[in-house]
């Protein structure tokens, strides 16, 4: 699938801060599932590129007295491929797998999640891929997708107790559950093309928020993606941008400001499909 992506993150300040520093994890990298074409980030200040511990391409943005608003815009193209959600082991994996067993503030498995996951322990031991599929399906069924019920600060345990949340919460719950079974798991932030099934805007643009899902380590395969919010493994509708232990370490934009007050952040993302969907092509040929 050939996707053109445009996103804009805007901070609006009631009182402009003195300084703003941001970590941006906005640059997807080419790999088995995707090839990145042109990719530009524009921001009102110098961007310094670096690689974080996960191998994500990051930028640090430092802006002195940014004024009343600060916008970070991204534009680029990605060619995606369906690899059935499988990402073979790569030298880019700098961290030992065992690190992905550590709890974080977001993904600590409380008794609720651990008890929920426990019945799949044996299944995962016998066949980790199949067991995780079942676990993902169970989480998908258990946790309702409800926008606005949770916030970016909600932990896996909190969302699980409420039995509802958005993709971030689903991903955290699956990660916490997998880790409680001794399976290394990590968080993926990226984009999801929903044009075929979701609401389609003018010019073939699908309006979508960024998406989040999980990856689990399966010995012989590598990292395998699971999207518990949709109950599927990632395919060519998914653009993988960054991975981390959880939302905090993988999120696209994370900032700290000094001074100022009253901050609101909004993000607008548009995906355009630029190749012709096979189904439309078939119709026209017919």
């Amino acid at each position: 699938m050939h996707l053109r992506i445009e996103s804009a993150t805007t901070y609006a300040y009631d009182r402009p801060p003195r300084h703003s520093t941001q970590y941006l994890r906005l640059t997807p990298q080419s790999g088995p599932g995707q090839t990145v074409g042109r990719w530009d980030i524009s921001a009102p200040g110098a961007l310094t590129a670096w690689n974080d511990m996960f191998g994500n391409r990051c930028h640090t943005l430092s802006v002195e007295r940014p004024g009343p608003a600060l916008e970070i815009a991204v534009a680029g193209t990605v060619e995606t491929r369906d690899t059935a959600g499988i990402l073979p082991p790569s030298p880019a994996d700098a961290l030992p797998d065992a690190v992905y067993l550590r709890d974080t503030g977001y993904t600590g498995a409380d008794h609720g999640i651990a008890d929920f996951a426990e019945p799949w322990r044996d299944a995962c031991r016998a066949d980790r891929l199949a067991g995780l599929h079942e676990l993902m399906t169970a989480i998908h069924a258990e946790i309702a997708y409800v926008e606005g019920a949770t916030s970016v600060l909600t932990t896996a345990g909190e969302a699980f107790a409420e039995r509802r949340g958005v993709c971030q919460d689903h991903a955290h719950i699956l990660i916490a559950a997998a880790r409680s079974l001794g399976i290394p798991a990590r968080y993926v932030s990226g984009y999801l093309w929903t044009g075929e099934t979701g609401e389609t805007g003018a010019g073939g643009a699908a309006f979508s928020a960024s998406h989040a899902w999980a990856e689990c380590r399966i010995e012989e395969l590598g990292w395998v993606s699971f999207d518990p919010a949709n109950g599927v493994c990632a395919n060519d509708a998914y653009v993988r941008v960054a991975v981390g232990f959880d939302y905090a370490t993988a999120c696209p934009v994370r900032g700290v400001r000094t001074g100022g007050g009253g901050e609101r952040m909004t993000t607008e993302i548009r995906l355009f499909r630029e190749d012709e969907p096979a189904i439309l092509q078939a119709e026209r040929e017919a």
């Binding site: 520093t21 970590y23 430092s62 030992p96 065992a98 700290v256």
Partner: protein
Amino acid sequence: MLRGPAFDEMTDPAGGPRPAWAALQSWLDATPLDLLHRKHGEAEALFRRLGITFYLYGDGAAAERMIPFDVLPRILSAAEWSTIERGCIQRVRALNMFLHDIYHEQEILRAGRIPPDLVIGNRAYRPEMAGVDLPGKVYSHIAGIDIVRTGPDDFLVLEDNLRTPSGVSYMLENRETTMRLFPDLFAGMSVRPVGSYPDQLLQNLRAVAPPGRPDPAVVLLTPGRLNAAYFEHVFLAEQMGVELVEGRDLFVDGGRIFMRTTGGPEQIDVIYRRIDDDFLDPLAFDPESVLGVAGLLSVVRGGGVTLANAIGAGVADDKAIYSFVPEIVRFYLGEEPVLANVPSYLLRNPEDCRYVLEHLDELVVKEVHGSGGHGMLIGPKASRQEREAYRARILADPAAFMAQPTLALSTCPTLVEDGIAPRHVDLRPFVLSGEVTSLVPGAFTRVALPEGSLVVNSSQGGGTKDTWVLDA
């Protein structure tokens, strides 16, 4: 070796002074007690005027306190010091190699010499540092090695402090004070000087600056005035002639760190930080931290600044790793450790756990990740109730605890209310690593002032002594 009466550092079993102490003994014989008490009063007045204080955090507001100072120096012979020096240098070299290894190839884990989960699962292991190459491969530029003595030749390492060890200001100020109080005694004993410590530290810090900076700028980063060791931060910054900065004085731009000055931004190359890892960068660690510098981690990973000590050095001084340090020395240096560990029991091992629970009244039990003498059980001194309460804590999470035998810490003569009496002491020399690893001939000696007490922590009523290393 470990039980029985404590080793008296000054007096031999026959009742006479050991050779290194002979001069002090005869001076004491000739000096009236009230003069010593008067000198003690002078020393306190001096410390108060200089503002040598630390903060204690109790129930309410932070209180400013002075650490009690004992005027009688502790004396170490040249031979004793030589053992300590060789042992500390060996240990810190090995620990720095260990740190480099676990953040890179992890050969020691692959070789099966340490259980990987003790390292990788450890909170103090910072994956953020994986694959980062540090100048000189130094992680702990300043290390404080806590040593206890149980016999003439028995110096044992009780604990390594590789994060932000404090106390060196006492080593330096105590020396200033004893030289002022007892010039004649000092002059007659050929004591090796310690005053070059700040210079050596500065030289080392400049040596580990990112490459390509001919005249690197060094700063000392403090959490601020309310920190327990703020006095030391001010003292060291002044002694080295570097700026004492807080996180809000610094910012990140273009992969470098800058300090806000009235003349505009100034680039900083090396940060001697006295802030814990968690608070260094709110974008990477604790997001609530206002002590750190947003973006700092990205500059560290990009090689634009050197932190001393490095992020993640704490994994090597964790009490669970501690029992593997002799193995670490053997693995990286191919040598036998000069200084032994205090034997310890890791309660994560069921056998050790069973033994410890059966011998709670003989052992000291500590939290694996704790520090500062808090949350520990001193078995022989604890009441039955205290032991039983502690037993319940252990059973809830055995892996969080370790135990050691109660050590009969050596004693040194100490001025107390009604004369001079032996009190238990420990020793913290400071090991500096830059281009080379070295230590100045001196240390921070802590003394447990209450009779019979074995707790030397300053937060628990410990005092300090000047430490004299003799030239010959």
